[in-house]
């Protein structure tokens, strides 16, 4: 009994022992990885590339949707006049519209000019010539003033224009923006699918690495079991190893993504300047970086958990 008492005194309180054990294992597993730098780095690189690909694509996609928001701001309203409106009436309306507070600029597209353009572009030149009179109305292209704080102004203006006497129809030209958004939506789904597949690949890579690790340390596991190590104690270093793989992989993925964006940035800025735009690529922000690394850590942990669950119970001392 005396022996048991002195043993009891020398032990830390259970909670402290637990904490100390975890910290010790956390650092020891890092040390273990650093003793096999080549194979550890390869695993980390595979994880990083698998994660950098979807996160890089997501960054590009985000940039594309920012860009489209910029274009959205240059939306144009086409005001179709009634067919019987004369050129004089059209000019009058144009002058009137230019005085509107909400309108930046307005331009008249004469119906003859519109017909000419139509016959040139559409290739229906002969058919158009066969027409007795011009079926097209005059159109005023209205450039609304954009106030980012008052997005409801444009629909309001649209309603006002529609109520003008000579106006047949005022239409906001957003079809192409909607199409672009639909395309971006598809791209985004595609990236999520690729990302999920690559996430599964990361799970398998970590799981396989941990499986090999377990096999290499079979002797150690047997001995530890023989001298009273619990399953949790034996499991812990492998889980932490998985965590470190995920953490390091996530960090490297962030680095790869940032580097790639950096490499593209110059060319994009050059291209943007040709369009008289100061547009710049934006990389991963703080929140996205934390999510990327956190997600990677989770994948590492889950991957090692699966491997440990499958392979650790197979090893029993004999």
């Amino acid at each position: 009994m005396a022996r048991a008492d002195s043993n009891q005194r020398a032990k830390s309180s259970p909670l402290k022992a637990w904490g100390v054990n975890h910290l010790r294992t956390l650092l020891a597993s890092l040390g273990n990885m650093s003793r096999q730098p080549a194979s550890s780095l390869m695993t980390i690189a595979v994880i990083a590339i698998a994660l950098a690909l979807p996160s890089g694509l997501l960054v590009l996609l985000n940039n594309a949707s920012h860009l489209s928001v910029g274009w959205d701001n240059s939306a144009q309203i086409s005001v179709f006049l009634q067919n019987d409106a004369s050129e004089k009436q059209a000019q009058e309306l144009l002058r009137k519209l230019r005085l509107y507070d909400d309108i930046d600029d307005a331009k008249l597209i004469h119906k003859d000019q519109a017909l000419r353009e139509f016959s040139e572009i559409s290739g229906f030149g002969n058919a158009v010539e066969a027409l007795d009179n011009n079926p097209l109305p005059h159109v005023i292209a209205v450039q609304p003033k954009i106030d980012p704080r008052r997005p409801d102004k444009i629909p309001h203006l649209l309603k006002q224009l529609n109520e003008l006497p000579q106006v047949e129809l005022a239409q906001l030209d957003l079809q192409w923006v909607k199409r672009l958004f639909a395309m971006l939506e598809i791209a985004q789904r595609g990236i999520w699918i690729i990302g999920s597949l690559l996430g599964i690949a990361v799970l398998l890579v970590v799981g396989n690495t941990i499986r090999l690790d377990i096999q290499n340390r079979r002797e150690e596991i047997e001995v530890t079991k023989l001298i009273g190590g619990t399953d949790a104690f034996i499991r812990r270093p492998f889980l932490y190893t998985g965590f470190w793989y995920g953490f390091a992989g996530g960090l490297l993925a962030w680095l790869l993504t940032s580097l790639s964006i950096g490499l593209l940035d110059n060319s994009v800025t050059q291209l943007a300047s040709l369009y008289n735009s100061g547009y710049q690529l934006s990389g991963l922000n703080f929140r996205e970086t934390i999510s990327l690394i956190g997600f990677s850590c989770c994948l590492g942990l889950v991957g090692s958990w699966i491997a440990v669950g499958r392979h650790l119970s197979e090893i029993e001392p004999s």
Binding site: S12, N21, T224, K225, G228, T230
Partner: protein
Amino acid sequence: MIRFDNVSKRYPGGHEALSNVSFHLPRGEMAYLTGHSGAGKSTLLKLIALIERPSRGNLLLDGINLSSVSNSKIPYVRRNIGIIFQNHHLLYDRPVFDNVALPLVIAGYQHREIGKRVRAALDQVGLLNKEKSMPITLSGGEQQRVGIARAIVHKPGLLLADEPTGNLDPELSRDIMELFARFNQVGVSVLIASHDLDLIQQMGSPVVSLSNGRLERDDLATGRVASGTGDADGQG
């Protein structure tokens, strides 16, 4: 400390390694387990260490019926046993100190306490100056003593040794056996499986002998002590 009560062990495939074995090793007692290879010595030790489970019969360790111990509780039973193997089972990727410290780390001892106890254990086996050496650089006898230091560092109530002198020359073997006798003198129960009958005769502790899985001789029950050094370590 150890009580076998009509214990049998049949392995899958029908081989019966132990048949109706009953014996009792009292607390603080030391005994040798002998028999030819295949007689069931290792199986008997494995049953005590819960590496195997008996097919029939009851096995009590320190008053606990081992058949009532669930798999998740096995580690806690093993922490009260120090096990020594013929092939040492040391971990060759870390120095002697870390090998010996392992049971204490598992049990959650404080850092300072670990250093103290590991050095005390190494001192007892005469390897205090080797704590930083890697096991592979040590001789066979030294490696076995590291294994013993690891088995006693957490002061278990029972020491089990499976052919601890199997690969050592006679003089080293005798040193190791005397080391076990010293631990026994401070109150540790000791059970040593060995086929080195000459050495056992010289040591003079009770002998439990197996033959084809059956108990052939039980000095613990008969009060007989191996001839040689008299009754110094006889029944208490």
